[in-house]
């Protein structure tokens, strides 16, 4: 997080120093604009982001799902889901989140909401049909742990910062082609600080060009680490890491794209909803840009918790 904020301020500050000249330090327009836009977009997604995500996936609230149940077995599974969520919220000492069912046959689940009082958990029908009660408990514990660790808030803020960095990089790109003439005139006047200033300029230009990629990679790194944390704290709730491991194995086997979940909300799910597109390709770039760690790594980590790997 600190790296992120530092990167953002570095870009904004450089913008001020190199394009606005000496007056910039008294009124840093670039940094202020960066902070301003970042704050607005962060606040908007903070307060209404969860409703937008749920709407986009077509999630059904629990009572609607119950009334539309196709068979008694369906009713049984939905009541089981409700009971499991309540059990996990008792174990975590948190208020019970709202529960939703997504009519998608691919097994997946996600959690959203800015803090435990305003959280929602959604589960696909495919997951309800695939896993046993203990495995469902492991999955729900993982999602509730995302809520408990305030990961949603974290990823919202990071998403806002990534967007801001992309914007800044865009502006600076434009600024470079049209404003470089005026800035080089002002720099001719202080030749003694020329060398250090030039190196800094080069570093800053490279950062601007690579900024969107670096920002995205940093965001994905945070996302992957929080996934491991959610696995571990979820196992702390259930005291049964093997159940979650076998649930992950089942989800991995059935892996097909979860079409209901759009790209922007991919990081909130328990398994990468974009299908095996990233998972099959190994190597530097897919590993860098994946929202979730490799399933095999997660399963190994869980088995180590149970002293079985």
């Amino acid at each position: 997080m600190i790296v992120f904020v530092g990167f953002l301020l570095f870009l904004g500050f450089g913008f001020d120093v190199f394009y606005i000249g000496e007056g910039a330090l008294t009124f840093p327009i670039g940094s202020l604009a960066a902070l301003g836009i970042g704050s607005v977009s962060a606040l908007t997604s903070y307060y209404s982001g969860d409703r937008a995500v749920l709407l986009s996936t077509g999630a059904m609230a629990l009572d609607r799902a119950l009334s539309g149940a196709a068979s008694p077995d369906d009713t049984y599974k939905i009541r089981q889901l409700d009971n499991v969520v309540e059990e996990m919220s008792i174990a975590a000492g948190l208020p019970k989140p709202r529960v939703y069912v997504i009519p998608d046959s691919d097994p997946n689940a996600f959690a959203t909401g800015r803090d435990p009082e305003h959280a929602s958990i959604a589960v696909t029908r495919g997951l309800l049909d695939t896993v046993t009660r203990d495995e469902l408990q492991g999955v729900v514990a993982h999602e509730l742990s995302h809520v408990r660790n305030l990961d949603i808030r974290l990823m919202t803020v990071i998403a806002a910062m990534v967007g801001t960095i992309a914007l800044l990089s865009d502006w600076s790109g434009r600024g470079m082609s049209s404003g470089s003439r005026s800035s080089s005139n002002s720099r001719d006047n202080d030749k003694d600080s020329g060398a250090a200033g030039l190196i800094l300029l080069v570093v800053w230009v490279v950062a601007i060009v690579l900024a969107p990629l670096i920002a995205q990679a940093l965001a994905m790194l945070v996302s992957r680490r929080r996934e491991f944390l959610a696995d571990a704290t979820g196992a702390e709730l259930t005291r049964n890491p093997l159940a979650l491991a076998s649930a992950l194995e089942k989800i991995d086997r059935e892996a097909a794209p979860t079409l209901s979940v759009k790209r922007g909300t991919a990081h909130l799910c328990i398994a990468d909803p974009l299908g095996r597109a990233m998972g099959l390709r190994e190597g530097f770039l897919p590993d860098l840009l994946a929202t979730h760690p490799r399933m095999a790594d997660r399963i190994t980590a869980l088995k180590q918790m149970a002293y079985q790997a």
């Binding site: 008694p72 049984y76 009541r79 009971n83 309540e86 059990e87 008792i90 000492g93 009660r133």
Partner: protein, 186 residues
Amino acid sequence: MTWILLAVVALVVVWAIALYNRLVGLRNQVLNGWRQIDVQLKRRHDLIPNLVNTVRGAMEFERDTLTQVMEARARAVSATGPADAARKEGELSQALGRLFAVAENYPTLRANENVKMLQEELTSTENKVGFARQFYNDIATTFNTAQQTFPSNMFASALGFKPSELFEITDATERQVPAVDLSMRK
């Protein structure tokens, strides 16, 4: 020099206030966790007898209808002579007719599903009691650790905090594996 001393004292005071507030918050969570176990136990006490009665009522209704069919069939099988057989087969047909009427009004004879739902609710209730106890132990451990780590341990008892007890089984027989005997013999 006095500025540095004042700054250090101010920092220590701020730290002590933060510690006190944190310990108060944890102590209240421990008390709450202890009472939450009672909440789940009361829910179990109130819910389970009612659920069992509901399921038993539904099963008895179906059992009566099925019993009539079985008895009529037994009588029909043990009929003596064609006239007797004809009469008893007629009674069996009537009983079957009643059974089919019941089946039409209640499209799925739901004894199995009712029992399955009852099992789920029983399991969930016991799980909830168990998880409430687990949460109590977890939060009590967090509270004890917060009091006992250095440097908080120097101030915790002075500020009036005591370590809390963890939940423990008092009846040793509860630790034994329960016997499960599904044989139908009485």
